[in-house]
Amino acid sequence: MSTDSKFGDYGGQYVPEALMPAIEELTDAYERYVLNNEDGFMDEFRDRMRDFGGRPMPLQRADQLSARYDTEVYLKREDLLHGGAHKLNNALGQVLLAKYMGKERIIAETGAGQHGTATAMAAAHLDIPCEIYMGETDIARQRPNVFRMRTNGAEVNPVTTGRGTLKEAISETMRDWSRTVENTHYVIGSIVGPHPFPSMVRDFHSVISEEARQQIQEKTGDLPDSVLACAGGGSNTMGMFHHFIDDESVDLYAVEAGGSSLSVDEETGVAPNSASLSTGNEGVLHGARTKILQDSDGQIMESHSVSAGLDYAGVGPELAYLVDEGRVEPVNVDDDSALEAFHRLSQDEGIIPALETAHAFGYLERVAGPATEGRAAESRDEHHDRLGDSVVINVSGRGDKDLETVIEETGNRDLDNAPDMSIFREIGGGML
């Protein structure tokens, strides 16, 4: 295992022995094909991301938000990528790599269904059989994505153990993999898991910042003062940060899900948030040492967030490292503010964001928005100090998948800017 497998003390390869050869084979393939472009792998990857995925994604000035926050706000539009989120960058990269490695079968876990959907699309595109593990609870609440996976020809294997959510799905996929390593590749869904996954997934997503860094310079002649992205596992986050890491003048904000509260309930082992960078501590989860939400015994806590894609108790080891180094600032936004930001971006800019994405915009509002009852407005100077004159923010995905959740959650709350949805009560129909 090379020292590259670590980010400081984070990372590593904490996996059952049976998986180590697969991990080593993958590390070798990663170095050859991804890092050294052997057999033109990266060329093919980029071609397919252009033609199938739709890259490059635009960097768009957000006219209304720029006025609202008195700073130039630029949106990196990953929501326009095929499938509706940044996820395809990684899924297509890994499925293509699996083909280069001679694998004949793809497996993946999924929680909200976004990674499963992207993987199923990539597998159909590259004509390789695909099975997705998904907890049965998640299957029931994410039926549109289940349908999308089935429609793309993927098998969806319901996971009935435990609570039937993402954690169990990951464990089940690892179990499948340790039986089938010889012909199967496991497409992990974020910058988590054992090396080489965190580095490799980041590399596939780093095209986001590669493009954005060039686009913002074309548009403004300069680097941005700050860059924001939401963080669940952290793949869109590191994709958005990677090429800015060496630009010391650029502040990097990773916006986690604050859920309903930042405090944890040790008694029930539940953290009503998913803010592992802000509130978690070092531990080993799903193959890597990183920051995790755990009780004092080291048992992993159930995380919670209104956004299923941020609802994970761990985070990528590289992000944990960059936070410790002071390079990335971890911040968080609670469920209410995320929903409010969801409605704001939809109404003001005509972009319906994923609930995950909405968290990043919630942070923008918090530091630069007008005063509210609960919060004084930052003075102009302070907020300019905080965000600077130009901000790039990653729109990691679109919100079509979240419509039902948002209708329900908006109904449960008292949000200032929620549209009147009485039309849905007046007229019957399928949704809700």
């Binding site: 295992m1 049976a18 464990s171 015994d297």
Partner: protein, 271 residues
């Protein structure tokens, strides 16, 4: 008794059971029943919330144990309460070992485990490359550190393990996670050949279900057999049917006897 000593005279039978499954008291009796049935050492699972190396059977045992209130602290009490003359091996995941006590790192837990009466560790998600701190703590407190060798483990990785292993080596008989199977893999012989020159006993596990399996494994050259799911199945069934602890304990003892006899039979023929 040291772990290696458990393999000294005859092929060893090493059962696995999750501490606290389905309750503290019941599993205490089960451990003792296994000892009565002929166990030479017992791998005693300390349940972790994300058991990525386990099959469904053991995963569900772990869920039951967690729901029954098992924690690392209670586990140590459990260990000190076990009334059986067999060495106990703590099988768990690294995060629990790492988090225990005031300061991060494995030392606190190893110290406490040694005090409670644990003889060694098996940590399925801790590769030999990362095992340094745990190996050091084990050395400090005189405990063994068992590694798992998979059918696919080769080359440099084998050497790294060989350099650190003690007590016994856990030979995984086939690919996949734990779980009782009906066949006995022919990987066993080849796996044993690869580690023939290791100077620790070789215990073979994964998928052993019957005395006959045990016999064949020992005949293939194993110094011992490790059996988990086949025993956990008995616990699960008893739990589901609402059988009394005593009934389940009897069944475990009987199964243990069958497996131990199988192992002995394998050795007898071989000689």
């Amino acid at each position: 008794m040291s772990l290696e000593a458990a393999f000294a005279d005859e092929p060893a039978f090493v059962p696995y059971i999750a501490a606290g499954d389905p309750s503290y008291e019941a599993s205490l009796e089960y451990v003792e029943a296994l000892a009565r049935g002929g166990a030479d050492a017992i791998e005693l699972g300390l349940p972790f919330s994300e058991p990525i190396a386990e099959g469904t059977t053991i995963q569900e045992a772990i869920v039951r144990a967690l729901e029954g209130g098992m924690t690392p602290q209670r586990y140590l009490e459990f260990v000190s309460e076990v009334d059986a003359d067999v060495p106990l091996v703590c099988m768990t995941y690294y995060n629990l070992i790492y988090q225990y006590g005031e300061s991060d790192g494995p030392r606190s837990f190893v110290e406490a485990a040694a005090e409670a009466g644990i003889e060694g560790f098996v940590v399925p998600d801790l590769p030999a490359e990362e095992a340094g701190p745990l190996r050091n703590a084990c050395d400090e407190f005189g405990l063994d550190l068992v590694f798992i060798v998979a059918p696919t483990t080769e080359g440099e990785r084998l050497e790294t393990m060989k350099a650190q292993v003690s007590g016994y080596v856990y030979v995984q008989a086939r690919l996949g996670t734990t779980g009782a199977r009906d066949d006995v893999s022919d990987h066993t012989e080849r796996s044993l050949a690869r580690i023939a020159d290791w100077d620790v006993p070789k215990a073979v596990g994964f998928g052993i279900k019957t005395g006959e399996h045990a016999e064949r494994i020992v005949r293939a050259g194993a110094d011992g057999i490790i059996v988990g799911s086949a025993l956990v199945d008995i616990v699960a069934e008893g739990h589901e049917n609402g059988d009394s602890t005593a009934t389940v304990a009897d069944r475990l003892e009987e199964k243990a006897r069958e497996l131990k006899q199988g192992a002995l039979a394998g050795a007898a023929v071989e000689q």
